[in-house]
Every structure is written in C-alpha cells, then in structure tokens.
C-alpha cells in the first residue's frame, strides 16, 4: 500500500520535472505583404524563412515552431497595427516577425512595446525603428548602412562631384537620401536636385527624371522600395538616354534587386550599388543557400536580399527557441539576440548588443554579365558596418 503510494508520488514528481524537457510549441506571428502589388517582396521573405525551417528542422531543440501568417497588403500602418494586435491578443503569439515596410514597422512597434513581445524585423530599414521598442531586434539592414558609405565612395572613388537624389517619399526614402547627402556633401560633393517620388503608388518616372537629365549632374542617386519600382526607374533611365548624357545611376541594392534583374534587359549593366547581399556572392554559405533555393523553388527563381533576411530571421528564431528551451519571454529573448552571431549567406552578421540592430558587411557591387544573365558582382567589401545613424547620434 505504502509502496504503491510512493510509486505514484514519484511518478508524478518525475512527470512534472520531465515537463521541462517536453516539446513546447512556440507561436510566431509573421506580418508580410502577401497580396497586392507588392506581394512579390513578401513572398521572397516567406520563401527564405520557410526554406530555413525545412532544412534545419532539428535546430529548435525538439520544440515546434508554429508560424501564423498575416497579410499586411502593402505599406498600410493601420492594417499592420491591427494585425499585430490580433496576433498578440487573440492568437497569443510569442514573437512577431516579418515586416517589409518601415511605416508598418513603426506602427507594429507601438503594439509590441506595450505588450512586451519580441519583434524581429526581417526587412524594414529606417534607422530609427529599433529605438521604438526595447524588444525589437533587426536582422535586415538600416538605410544608412548602404547610403552613408556610398556617399563617400561616390565622391572619392567614382569622382562624382554633383548628384541628384531621388527617393520614394516615405521614411526609409528620406533616411536613405539624408544618409547619402550627409556623406556626399561632407566629402565635398554637391546635391543639385532633391526629388521625392510620390508614394505608395508607382508613379510615371519620366517628368521627375527628365528634370534630373536637364540638370546634368554626374550621378543620380535613387532609393525606391525594390520590386517593380526598380524596373520602372531602370526603364525610364534608359528611355530618357540618361547614361548617354553622362549621368551615372547609383544607389542601394534595391535598384538592382537580384530577383528583378531578369526583367530589366541590359540597362543595369555597369550600375554601381552598395548593399548587404548579392545572390552572386562568392561564399560557401551563399553557394549552398542559392543551390538549396533553386532546388526548392525552381531554377528560374533567384533569392535576393529579402530572401536572405527571411533565412537569417528564422535562424535567429531557432536560436532563441533552442536557448530558452521553448519558453519565450521578451527580456530573455532579447538577451539571446544581443550579440548573436551567425554565418549568413551574406557573410558574417551580428546583432549589436547595444542597439539591437544588425552589424554586417557592405559590398560595393557592379552589375556584370555572368553567362546569359546579369548579376551584382561584389567588387569591394566594407567589413562589419554598424548603423552609421546610431553612431552619429551617440556622438551628439
């Protein structure tokens, strides 16, 4: 009698203790544009993290990750805010991730800060986003990381003296323009025209770029949110004969997005960009990544910076799930992410423990022909660039 009681108690004790080793289910709410004119961008991120999930199923320490996908439908902060609220209150997600557009990211940060839920940014690049919630970390990039060094490079190495800056008129556009302008004018260059493109509908670029052509600068710096925007700019650049007029097109890698290059004809040949990822990058991790991508999504499909951000984002989520043994809370999750290092297809990356923002290489690339297709060939590497905006703010 006593023995059987003892047995029952010990079984119970063992069960509760063993509970710690039981498999947990971690819910991750992903907010991306899955429909609308920008669905392609969301799809690239989605495919990136799905691929990581598929190939690294065992990296979670036996825990299950349940992904709940929500469609932001585009740069719509009101929709994004509602989705974040629903994910947290109704679906009880442990982590919110994704987010292509900066204005959506700002809206979501409000919700995740108040609810104390970790937010992992997989694209949105406005520098200030990570300052809006102490529970935000970013695995993508900041606008300043590419634009600021490019401003200096354009003046010093490309011998560009005058430039026109054109940008999609919302927060990352202004960020990118400010970063480029600051570095370029500090080096001694002069910005002769400042042209905001109406956002969010893709405009007819002709009148805007015609005014650039007539102003005859040495270069045209453009930031647009990749996708069909990039193809439109490239086409108008060609139609107006701007290269023949001696105006170089430069910018962050959005204008030569790897997955849009096939739609641009021969126009981008020779275009110089600064960016954190090229599908043509010559690294073992990248070759394996591109190969796995093509096996999963077809030989015609190309990963781009959105894809690699999705991939790295899921790696960061796996890390947190494994290290916290499936029990996610905001403080511990951020403690794991701070200082996290990863061998990404884009090269080594790290989350800055101080700013929770990404530290990564920037590559100066030139569009060249590889076989029948165009590719962003990495020419120079700037190693482990921290967000220049936050560095400058610190000095103030």
């Amino acid at each position: 009698m006593k023995i059987s009681r003892l047995l029952a108690v010990s079984v119970l004790v063992l069960l509760t203790m063993g509970g710690a080793a039981w498999a947990e289910t971690v819910k991750v709410g992903v907010i991306l544009p899955y429909s609308g004119p920008n669905a392609q961008l969301g799809q690239q991120v989605d495919r990136g993290f799905e691929l990581y999930q598929k190939l690294n199923a065992k990296g979670t320490g036996g825990h299950t990750i349940e992904i709940i996908k929500r469609d932001s439908t585009g740069p719509k902060p009101d929709v994004a805010k509602r989705l974040a609220t629903e994910l947290i209150t109704r679906d009880k997600v442990d982590i919110v991730a994704g987010v292509v557009y900066s204005n959506n990211a700002f809206a979501i940060s409000d919700v995740t800060r108040k609810a104390k839920v970790p937010l992992l940014i997989m694209n949105a690049g406005t520098a200030a986003i990570t300052t809006r919630s102490p529970y935000t970390a970013r695995v993508s990039f900041t606008m300043w990381q590419a634009a600021y060094p490019l401003g200096k490079y354009a003046y010093e190495k490309m011998k560009i003296r005058t430039a026109a800056v054109a940008y999609a008129n919302y927060s990352p556009g202004k960020d990118s323009k400010n970063a480029f302008t600051k570095a370029f004018t500090a080096a001694g260059g002069k910005v002769v025209a400042d042209i905001p493109f109406p956002f969010p509908k893709i405009p007819d670029f002709t009148p805007f770029l015609q005014s650039v052509k007539d102003a005859k600068p040495d270069a045209l710096y453009v930031f647009i949110p990749a996708g069909k925007w990039a193809t439109g700019v490239m086409k108008t650049y060609d139609d107006l004969g701007m290269r023949a007029a001696g105006i170089e097109l430069i910018g962050p890698g959005d204008i030569t997005q790897d997955s849009e290059l096939p739609n641009m004809g021969q126009v981008p040949l020779g275009v110089i960009t600064m960016h954190h990822y090229s599908a043509a990058g010559d690294r073992a991790e990248n070759k394996a990544f591109v190969k796995a991508w093509k096996e999963a999504y077809g030989a015609d499909s190309t990963p781009d910076f959105f894809s690699v951000q999705g991939w790295d984002g899921m790696a960061a989520i796996h890390e947190v799930v494994r290290r916290l043994n499936g029990k996610i809370d905001a403080d511990n999750a951020l403690a794991v992410w701070k200082g996290w290092k990863f061998a990404s297809p884009r090269g080594p990356i790290m989350i800055d423990p101080e700013t929770r923002d990404i530290v990564q290489n920037q590559y100066l690339r030139k569009v060249e022909k590889r076989g029948d297709a165009l590719a962003n060939i990495e020419v120079e590497t700037l190693e482990m660039v921290k967000d220049p905006w936050k560095e400058l703010e610190k000095k103030k």
Binding site: P37, P196, D204, P207
Partner: protein, 286 residues
C-alpha cells in the same frame, strides 16, 4: 531653361493625349445621355489588360494588339449597355452611380482574378524603345509614338463629329434630345453606337497608356478622378473642351512634378478648383 520647357511640353503633351483619348468617351456619353458613368475607367483598364494578353500571351504584334483590344472592349460595352445601362437612362443619378460603381468593383475583382494584382506593362517592341532624334533634340520614342497616334485619332474624331451624318446626329442629340427624336433620329441606336465608340477609345488610351499610368486592377478607381476632372473642366459633351482640359491638366501636372516634386498632385487639383470657380460649367458647356 528652354530645354526644360520643351521637356515639360513634350511629356505633358503625351500625358494629355492619353487623358483625352480615355476621357472623351466619358464626356460624350455624359453629355449625350446624361448618364453618370463612373465605370468608364474600367473600360480603359480592360483595354490595357486585353492588349497585354494579346501581345504578351498570344504573340499578336504590338501595332495590332491595341486596336484589337479597342474592338474587344467596344463589344463588351455594347453588351453591358444593352443589359444594364439602358435600364437606367433617365433614372436618378444615385441609381446610376450605384450601378456603375458596382461595375467598377466587379471589374477590379475580375481583373485581379485574371491578371493578378501586380503592375503589368504592355511590352513595347524594340523599334519603339529608346530615343528618337527630332533634329533639335532627342525624345523618348514611345511617347512620340503616343502623341502621333493620338493626333491621328483626334483628327479622325473631329472629322467624324463635325463632318459626317452620324456626327451631326450626335451633336443634334446632345443639343436637344427630344427635337432630335422628333425629326426621326434613332436615339437608342445612337446611344449604343456612341457608348461603344467612347468605350473603345478609352480602351485604346488604356492600352497605349500603360507606360504612363501603369496598370493594376485598381486603375479604374485611381484615375477616375482625372477623367472626371477632364469632363468637368472641359464641359459636358464637348470635344474641344475635353481637349483643352486634358492639355492644361497634362502640362500642369508634368510641370509640377518637374519643378516642385514635393507638392505631389497639389497643382492639378489647385488648377481644377480655379478653373471651375472661373467657369463652373466648364470651358465649352453646351
């Protein structure tokens, strides 16, 4: 300075011509039938999509694709006119607005279903790409082509309107419908014909203009305001008015983007307000 003025005049003209070709049908149908057809932009959108399908998916030559789309949309519009529009001639405006805005939403859904939500463009053949040298400076070839085609269309339209019997009947019906009926003009058939013609022209403009206006399923709503402005500023049922209004709006819009890009669509609306304060009935009200 001269150079930038030429740039603005040229780009403004190309935009104005597209606006005119699309809106003229709306002007005539509103003037002739007194019908508030908010679904007019849908015909332009449909023209664009059908042309894209012809050229991209079926390999029809570009120069044939746009006219074919024009005919296809004209036929569709006849069916719609006979089935739906006809019932509401003379009905109050609210009913007409409800019907046509409903059609717009259906059109958006159908186009999203058939062609997807992404922006599509009509693939321009190689000989229309790049730049053409007109002696004193170079211009984008495709826009030059748009302007030429539009001029030919406008001359044809003017001739048809002012010099043919059909044109005379249309003018008579716009001026005084009951009197026109009394002298034996078949108003119903005339309605159908002009409706089809207007929709067909919209389709032509839609097909040619994908470069300037883009082409997404929400096109029908996005540009509706522009088409209505042309009609309101030009005066109902007036070819000359629609032409003048298109020209002013096209050039003002382009000049705004060129000189003060930060103001966005401000100028086009400011000018509209001023013009309408000056002439509430439009330039050439009948």
């Amino acid at each position: 300075m001269i150079n930038s003025l030429v740039s603005i005049a040229f780009d403004g003209l190309a935009f104005a011509m597209i606006l005119f070709i699309i809106s003229v049908g709306l002007s005539v149908t509103m003037g002739l039938m007194g019908f508030v057809n908010l679904a007019h932009g849908m015909f332009a959108m449909l023209g664009g999509y059908i042309a894209v399908s012809f050229v991209r998916d079926m390999g029809v030559p570009f120069l044939l694709g746009a006219p074919l789309a024009c005919v296809a949309v004209a036929l569709v519009s006849i069916v719609l006119e006979r089935l739906l529009y006809r019932r509401l001639y003379g009905a109050d405006e609210l009913q007409q607005v409800l019907l046509t805005i409903g059609l717009v939403f259906m059109g958006i859904a159908v186009c999203t279903f058939l062609w997807g939500p992404l922006n599509v463009q009509l693939d321009v053949p190689l000989y229309l790409k790049g730049q053409v040298d007109l002696g004193f400076r170079r211009f984008p070839t495709y826009r030059t082509f748009i302007i030429l085609v539009s001029f030919v269309t406008i001359i044809g339209l003017w001739y048809g309107f002012e010099r043919t019997l059909l044109g005379a009947k249309v003018r008579a019906a716009v001026d005084n419908q009951r009197m026109a009926e009394t002298v034996g003009i078949n108003i119903r058939r005339l309605f159908t014909l002009t409706f089809a013609l207007g929709s067909g022209l919209a389709a032509l403009g839609g097909a040619l203009g994908t470069e300037i206006l883009g082409l997404t399923p929400t096109y029908a709503l996005e540009y509706l305001v522009y088409f209505l402005i042309v009609v309101a500023v030009g005066g109902l049922g007036s070819l000359r008015g629609a032409f003048a209004a298109s020209l002013i709006l096209g050039i003002v819009d382009t000049a705004g983007k060129y000189y003060l890009p930060a103001f966005g669509a401000f100028f086009i609306f400011a000018v509209t307000i001023i013009l309408l304060l000056w002439r509430p009935q439009g330039f050439y009200a009948r």
